[in-house]
Amino acid sequence: MEKEWVHVKTVTGNVATNEQYLKRQHINNEFWREVGKGNHILLGAPRRAGKTSLMTDLVENCPEDFACIYKDLENIPNKEAFYKQLFHLILQCADRSKFQDARDFISRCLRRYNIKEISTTGITIDSREIRYETELLNIIPEFKDAKFHTVIFLDEFAEVIHKLKNAGLKQDALDILYTLRALRHDENFRHFTIVYAGSISLETVIRQIDRTKLINDLRPIRLKPLTDEEATRLIAQLLKVATIRVPDEVQHYLKEKLEYLLPYYLQLIIEAIDDIAFDSRNPMITTEIVDRAFERVLNEHKNFEDWVDRISVYQEDHFPFINEILVQAAHEGGITVREIYEKAIVHGLTQSYMDFVYDLIQNGYLKEAEKHVYIFASPLLQQFWLKKYPIYHV
């Protein structure tokens, strides 16, 4: 009887935990160090960089004297819902905590607010109107002398503010930001930390409502692509019980080819490798199969559409200029600063063209190969651009 093919243990698009999650201890260490200093954290990274997985790991493996809870907030429609959610989170966090202080706190809250039930789905309160914003300011100081530290992870916080602004609720957005800033600066709240996470830049959103000072006290932590060593560890984890065998030199080839080592894209390639090997029922992976896997992932090019989307949406006015740079870099294998400048003359951007180049470097599109020569940061992305824009006129 044919032996069952064991597939690779990837997880794409969703929270990775246990053997599917690559722990990067130095990020966890940095996080707890900053929280320990009393900082509130701004956790930023593009989508699919692994923020939610990191937060889940931080919550599930927090140090002894911490109580943590995570919540994705992206469906919050107004400020009342936000305060209600935060209020519920604090109670849920305390309710599942092992500390006596927390148990006492919950007992007081049950009586004070006529709470019928605290469960994973929320809190059931017996017919009583609660002004959540006010009550938040009342309950958090009760932790002041607690022997533990509460950390609330608010995922997609930047999206909430962005959506409120776009829905004509700018004042709601400002109220939330002012309230949270006030909490952060009150001595009574020093045992309480909020982590603000989001896949769009909170700084950009706040700039749009012209209140940058409202978040300038947050401590940013950014998720970077994997290092070579981390990528090796992730591959080993994913392949641990899988049927396919990827020799070291082939793994090396794969990493070199991908270059920009985001866990998401690494896993897409490994899934494609598994698929190709499954078809032939041959578990031994070669560089030729890696090439075919890259080709397959590229052909399903919607995987990379967001790289175009991000420029066309957030740099709408200058998309033609930016895209000309990228198309030339893709077709010619690079572009010089002189060639960029010539394009800038045509587009009337001679005063600011290097800002765009720096943005492209910052956001992982290009890198400087040698002085004033720019190439794609990832050969995979370059191949995508070639497929997306096959016709090129000098």
Binding site: N14, Y21, E74
Partner: protein, 478 residues
């Protein structure tokens, strides 16, 4: 369906509704996605990572059958049915307008199985009501200690309908991790890949692609054996070229192969062209409805685009439709949104366009085209059939490719690396255009070999890409 008698055991539609034994015994293809998903269900305890899936493929490619097979897998496995509750809403979800409609349907389904549902009270605010229904789902799952597997056919359409509520859905999937969605769609809509959408790259997308030659043969052999149909087995063995031609031009869809088997069983003998004509005839009600649903201006554009066959620019399209180019552009945007048309981007503003469903394109030529347009298709059919028969017979020079025809000469020249000489013939003002029509795949193979990826090759109809690669492969091997 038309005048073709259908073999009762090979139902054409709603195959997923067959009984569990039927589904198990007829499940031959789509092994990879099935294997991945069933292993994921078996190995991943519910408190671990939860992978969500989207199965993408055209109508008739086996998506619903695959969902049905997954349902049977869970229902018939003691351990899996202990861990999971499967809900599979009706394939045509006409009553779903908001997310709460879907949640109500899920709760009704669970309640009908004797589970206790804590229905929320009346709530005017859609957000609050959706949240309350979600809470009811989570409470129920917690109470019965199960995870919900939602098998959602036509998820692309459902997401379009409940677009305003998608953030809520994502938030609950992430916050509670007790729902696994395995959905299907005919296309990857913006909801799944656009950076600004909640479900950006959230699902593992698995494409159900055209069946390969080997898969098509395996499927036909299986049907032949299972239903004791010797004619099917005989056809596969004796007419490989015809089978390959049919597979190529009908997008390699299992459903079309089913149609074809029914033709065989009706004792219809004929040429490859005859078979194709009858398959087109059988598929007419479906495609006619699709065509009729389009407003007149879009119908005209679609027809002309089909007749062009290759991808065309907006300017060229405005000429052949005799419509104002701005009107054409506006209509094209709508057709792209409906996924009837796809855009091939170039680095200039002059993008190319073609019909997304290639089998639909062929059907339009067959049923609505002029004699000249139909002749082009006939030429291609004859070419494909002969080319693949020759390949099957290990005849790389394709000597019996219309013996004595120009095609043999052209292929021989290509094999001898006389690419320029071949192109000269295609570019000849007098005979060139007719030659190109007659041997379109050879023209593209020549173009690719001579000039690489050009605008001309970007125009190539995708259905002939494989044969073009096969021609180039044979030429390079030589």
């Amino acid at each position: 369906m038309s005048n073709i008698p259908l073999f009762a055991d090979l139902p054409l539609y709603q195959n997923a509704n067959a009984d569990s034994t039927g589904i198990k015994s007829t499940f031959i293809i789509r092994k990879y996605p099935y294997s991945v998903i069933s292993q994921d269900l078996s190995l991943n305890p519910k408190n671990r990572s939860i992978q969500q899936y989207l199965l993408v493929g055209p109508r008739g490619c086996g998506k619903s059958t695959l969902l049905g097979r997954i349902q049977v897998k869970i229902d018939s496995d003691e351990e899996l049915s202990r861990q999971y509750l499967v809900v599979k809403p009706a394939e045509e979800q006409a009553n779903i307008c908001r997310l709460f409609d879907l949640l109500e349907e899920i709760l009704h389904d669970l309640e009908s199985r004797g589970m206790e549902v804590k229905w929320p009270g009346e709530e005017d605010d859609p957000y609050e009501y959706t949240e309350a229904l979600f809470a009811a789902v989570h409470v129920l799952l917690e109470k019965y200690d199960k995870m919900l597997v939602l098998l959602l056919d036509n998820m692309d359409r459902v997401f379009e309908t409940v677009e305003a509520d998608l953030s809520s859905l994502r938030a609950h999937l992430l916050n509670f991790r007790d729902i696994k969605i395995i959905g299907t769609g005919t296309r990857l809509t913006k909801h799944f890949y656009s950076y600004s959408q909640p479900f950006y790259c959230f699902f593992r997308v698995m494409y159900l692609e055209a069946l390969t030659s080997a898969e098509a043969k395996e499927l036909l052999f299986h049907w032949g054996e299972q239903y004791h149909l010797p004619a099917v087995k005989e056809f596969v063995e004796k007419k490989p070229g015809q089978l390959e031609m049919i597979r190529t031009l009908t997008d390699g869809l299992p459903r079309t192969l089913q149609l074809f088997v029914n033709l065989l069983l009706a004792n219809d003998q004929g040429t490859g062209y005859d078979y194709m004509e009858r398959i087109m005839d059988a598929i007419t009600p479906l495609y006619q409805e699709r065509l009729n649903q389009l407003p007149p201006a879009q119908r005209k554009i679609v027809l002309q685009m089909a007749f062009c066959w290759e991808a065309v620019g907006a300017k060229e399209l405005a000429e052949v439709t005799r419509m104002d180019s701005r009107v054409v552009s506006a209509q094209m945007s709508q057709l792209i949104d409906k996924a009837v048309v796809e855009k091939i981007e170039t680095s200039t503003k002059n993008h190319l366009y073609r019909l997304t469903d290639r089998f639909f394109n062929l059907w339009l030529i067959f049923t609505q085209g002029s004699p000249r347009e139909k002749r082009r298709v006939k030429d291609l059919i004859v070419f494909l059939e002969n080319f693949y028969d020759a390949r099957e017979n290990n005849d790389p020079a394709c000597r019996h490719l219309n013996a004595g025809s120009e095609g043999v000469t052209l292929l021989q020249l290509l094999n001898q690396e006389q690419t320029r000489a071949v192109m000269d013939r295609f570019e000849d003002q007098e005979g060139g255009p007719k030659l190109k029509e007659e041997f379109l795949p050879i023209f593209y193979a020549t173009e690719l070999q001579l000039r690489g990826d050009t605008r001309t090759s970007a125009k190539m109809p995708p259905e002939i890409r494989q044969v073009v690669e096969d021609i180039l492969g044979a030429s390079n091997n030589k």
